[in-house]
């Protein structure tokens, strides 16, 4: 039996003036699944994530989160979503605890104090509880952003390069945490990364985006060989530089 989709994107298009940023993409993220959204810079990954987060209006197409149409039930749909992105740090003039408290209230998290304590422990942030986010290292800020992203145990977790500023050891721990999140609960994850090793390790499925279109889709462990490439990185480079050389049915 097919798992329920936590994210359904259908015919999603975004046009800026005469630039077609996202070109009618359709995909799903299922429960307990981690989907990697890959592609070169400017392929439309962040534009897609911004539309799913409701901060960018699609030109056409539809998005539903856990069965809720984002256009019609924005607040309800976003209460089941959360995100972490390197370009969206939490306000640096508030402490870690202050930020988690505020966002916990916005997401309507029950037993918020206990939840914050659990997340501070999970992401090894207890000693930074009363430290302003602005003075944390970029890696520590990323962990705070991930703690915020987990506050409401979202059905859909959007992660835009979540390990970009982390050291290898911390990055590995974060990958394990995200895998546990996807494996244990009923949520799904949409993950963007330029680290192909990481993508291969973490993602159940990948979508290759090029010039706003989904060019390839499949299992990151088998997809390279299906297209005559040794590694996922080789496939990525081909998609980025010579997409027309790929034998796409």
């Amino acid at each position: 039996m097919k798992a329920r989709a936590v994210l359904s994107v259908s015919g999603l298009t975004k046009v800026y003036g005469e630039t077609l940023a996202v070109d009618g993409i359709t995909f799903e993220v299922e429960q307990n699944e981690i989907v990697g959204l890959l592609g070169p810079n400017g392929a439309g990954k962040t534009t897609t994530i911004n539309m799913i987060l409701g901060v960018l209006e699609a030109t056409s197409g539809s998005i539903s989160v856990d069965g809720l149409d984002l256009g019609l039930q924005r607040s309800k749909a976003l209460s089941r979503t959360n995100f972490a992105a390197v370009y969206a740090p939490l306000p640096g003039n508030l402490t870690v605890y202050n930020n988690l408290r505020i966002f916990g209230m916005i997401y309507g998290v029950k037993h918020l104090s206990d939840r914050i304590d659990a997340l501070l422990s999970q992401f090894d942030l207890e000693r930074f509880r009363n430290t302003k986010c602005g003075v944390l290292s970029s890696g520590e800020q990323t962990r705070v952003a991930l703690a915020k992203a987990m506050l409401n145990s979202p059905k859909l977790l959007l992660l835009d390069e979540p390990t970009a500023s982390l050291d290898p050891a911390t990055a590995r721990e974060i990958r394990v945490t995200i895998r546990e999140f996807a494996g244990q609960g009923s949520g799904g994850v949409l993950w963007t990364s330029h680290n192909m090793y990481e993508v291969e390790e973490v993602c159940d499925r990948v979508l290759f985006l090029s010039k706003g279109k989904i060019l390839l889709e499949g299992n990151p462990k088998t997809l390279p060989r299906e297209y005559g490439k040794e590694t996922l990185e080789d496939l990525f480079i081909t998609v980025a530089r010579e997409p027309l050389t790929l034998d796409i049915a």
Partner: protein, 267 residues
Amino acid sequence: MNPKRTAAVVLRQYYLMRNSLSRVLPLFAWVGIDMVLWGFITRYLNSVASPGFNFVPAMLGAVLLWDFFSRVMQGVTMAFFEDVWSRNFLNFFATPLTISEYVGGLVASSIATSSVGLMVMLVVTTFAFGLSFLSYGLLVVPFLLVLFMFGIALGIVGSGMVLRLGPASEWFVWPIPALLSPFAGVFYPLETLPGWMQYISHILPPSYVFEAMRAIVAGRPVSLGSLGLSAGLAVLYIAVASWFFTRMYRHAVRTGLIARYSAETVS
């Protein structure tokens, strides 16, 4: 509307204010200084003008009411600017928080911050210069209410402007009270103004408040109809301001400005 989410916006302002001298001091320092300055000016005017006319309720009271209006407006815009300065739009607007809950939080923050300013002004003017709000009678309540509502409306409009035009445009917001003050007749009757300025005065709710205040001081009857009209205008302006902010927000979502706010423009 979820009150808990509105409370989160207010809590954010509280966390920012707490232990921040640079945020707390402006709540009362400038209005306090203004009251001292105008208190001495009115005291001097009382000593040189013909006896019988008391400048304290006429001028010092007017400055107090105008400062209250300015503080209300700045209470909204300052709370909004905190999100501009910390680049918090993407974090806030990618949550279940609705526009009405967000703006409600800004307004609630302004109620708290402007109340502090009002209290300080009342203490300084009452104890240092003998201004008694009781001399205005119960009408002081609609006076404050009209000024509060108009301040909220302008604060929301100012925030919408900055949302639309980018962080650098906050400069447009600060002088708004000063630009309006000549038309509002804070210190002089509206009939002092030329005809074209009076037309503008009649669409500004504060002008009715200051006319009524002068009528009380001069012992003339106050037109309750005019005060009612000013309250109606203020309510109308809040509705228009909310519509304007929502339009600016939708524009920012349509163009992608929310996600790239620091770029100031998406073109």
